[in-house]
Amino acid sequence: MTTFIAILVDGSIYASWLFLVSAGLTVIYGVMRILNMAHGSFYAIGAYAGASLVGWWFSGAGGNPYVSYLLLLGAALVAGLVVGFFIEFSLLRRMYGRDEILMVIVTYALLLILEDAIKLVWGVDPYFAYQPYGLLGRVSFSGLTFANYDLGLIGVSLVVGFGLWLILNRTHKGKLLRAVIHDREVAVAMGVNVKAMFAVTFAVGTTLGALAGALTAPAISVSPGIGVEVIVLAFAVVVVGGMGSIGGAAAGAVLVGLTRAAAVHLAPELELFVIYGVMSLVLSVRPQGLFGQTLVRKI
């Protein structure tokens, strides 16, 4: 029973984290048909920005420790929006309409550039920003102890998921965006400014990635390579759920999160294996992912 609860709670925490990490990836793919290999780098940028700001706050600059949460959010917003808009404007804008697989390679090049850019800006020594993590304390139930910060992640990812859903389904701009997703040519004919939509979507997607990084920073040591590890996890989640679907990313995150938690508790040697195992299994049964739509070729 204890193991079951542990799997459930750990799984939910991990699923929330996975959803945060992959939401931006799926949003960008859904609208722009770009599978952004550099998404992990935005995660890393958010983590570094958050960690260095929080580090500065606690190394004597700051007063109220609870402000550090705002700093994490602020760091993610600024870093994600600035870098996102800059890259959309300077690079991707010239590439729209190219092959999807070519865009994968373009964003792979972007990843290589950003990985080293991060090292040049922040160096190679790890950053720690553990204070916001410890500040919230721990809670115990059924003989298990969990960090409140981790449980808070569940709330944050619910807010992010619900927020995205609201924007897409309940606002005018969101409806236009869905028109773009559904049929780009018709949307252009309707007078939708697709270019602007793309720019905003990309920046929102990268900011979501940065947010995931900033919120993860207090729980890890922020060091080179974290983005490269994260991107393959995000891929797995998004592919399982169906690329471009936010509901799919949520479902994929829950499935992968719970499976991994089960593996960690029951068969730790399978931990790394299960994530891709789930992915391969889902795809062999449903190639388009759980919530994906099939495309039929016309001749």
């Binding site: 010239r94 697989i101 290589l112 040049l120 393959v232 790394l272 070729r297």
Partner: protein, 314 residues
């Protein structure tokens, strides 16, 4: 029909000349070339698939299988003969590819890319957790013999000559493949799969054969690298390793069979110096070069050579 054409004669000649170079070239250079040509073989696997329209982001899977087969064969099974080990590598890779190919050939474009990536990450995960194989540290590969002869101190030299030989023979065969009916049908599949089906052949089985062949070719390269460096580790299957192969493939382009070898040589050379002098900008350089190729030389560096040739003729 099995006559050697001009390109093939060139390839064999170059292979022989380079192998003979072992007598005069300094050992740091032969080592660099060993690594470069072996990597070139791995990249050939990526290129064969690209010609058929498939981009594998997980070719490291077969590179790693090749390396580990050589390592395990020597360390645990007691096979020390270089030729037997390389054949085993290719057979192991082909066997895995025959199974995975059944699933993978149902996918195209980014789905194929992502799934190949996932499979290589599965191997990475398994190897990282396998203590008998040294977990994340990997293990050392024993020195090899050749048909009963132990090269001893000349081991590195032997592997170099072996690599030159394998590369030349593979290049000739792959050149022949690219000119063959199947080679052209694969290009046709890249261009228009439905039409190929309507001409009377199954695109899926053609891609399956291509995938298995690519796996064996890449495993050959992986096996040679294992012998040359004397060490294998799970990093060989990590997805960034596969990314490197894609980089080299695009650097050279897919239009000529020699391109992957030249690109791999350029890559290994630049890397040797870049890691020494600008260790934290090496990937950034790669990234910018990759963008430059995509934007300015979509057919790879080889197209530069072709263009000057065409201009010279005009």
């Amino acid at each position: 029909m099995m006559r050697v054409d001009r390109t093939e004669a060139w390839l064999l000649g170059a292979g022989l000349a380079l192998a003979l170079g072992a007598l005069v070239l300094p050992s740091w250079l032969t080592f660099l070339l060993t690594i470069a040509f072996a990597k070139g073989l791995v990249v050939q696997g990526v290129v064969i698939q690209m010609r058929a329209g498939l981009v594998s982001f997980g070719q490291g899977l077969y590179y790693c299988i090749g390396g580990y087969t050589v390592g395990v064969g020597g360390q645990m099974v007691g096979v020390h003969d270089a030729f037997a080990l390389l054949l085993l590598s290719m057979a192991a890779a082909a066997a895995v590819a025959m199974v995975l190919g059944l699933l993978l050939t149902r996918y195209r474009e980014i789905f194929f890319a992502m799934l190949t990536l996932a499979f290589s990450m599965i191997l990475y995960g398994i190897l990282s957790k396998s203590q008998s194989l040294g977990s994340t540290d990997g293990f050392n590969v024993r020195a090899v013999t050749a048909l009963g002869w132990a090269p001893g101190a000349g081991g590195k030299m032997f592997v170099y000559v072996l690599t030159c030989g394998c590369a030349a023979v593979a290049a000739v065969l792959l050149h022949r493949l690219s000119k063959s009916s199947v080679g052209h049908v694969c290009e046709a599949i890249r261009e228009n799969e439905v039409r190929v089906e309507y001409l009377g052949v199954s695109p899926r089985w053609m891609l399956y054969a291509t995938y298995v062949l690519a796996a064996a070719t890449s495993a050959l390269g992986g096996g040679l690298i294992g012998m040359a460096t004397g060490h294998v580790d799970p990093e060989m299957a990590y997805w960034t390793t596969s990314g490197e192969f894609i980089f080299i493939a695009l650097l050279g382009g897919i239009s000529h069979v020699a391109a992957p070898f030249l690109a791999a040589t350029l890559f290994s050379t630049v890397r040797t110096y870049a890691i020494q002098f600008v260790p934290h900008s090496w990937q950034m350089i790669l990234g910018f070069v990759l963008l430059g190729i995509i934007i300015f030389l979509p057919k790879g560096l080889w197209s530069l050579f072709r263009r000057t040739k065409a201009e010279a003729r005009a």
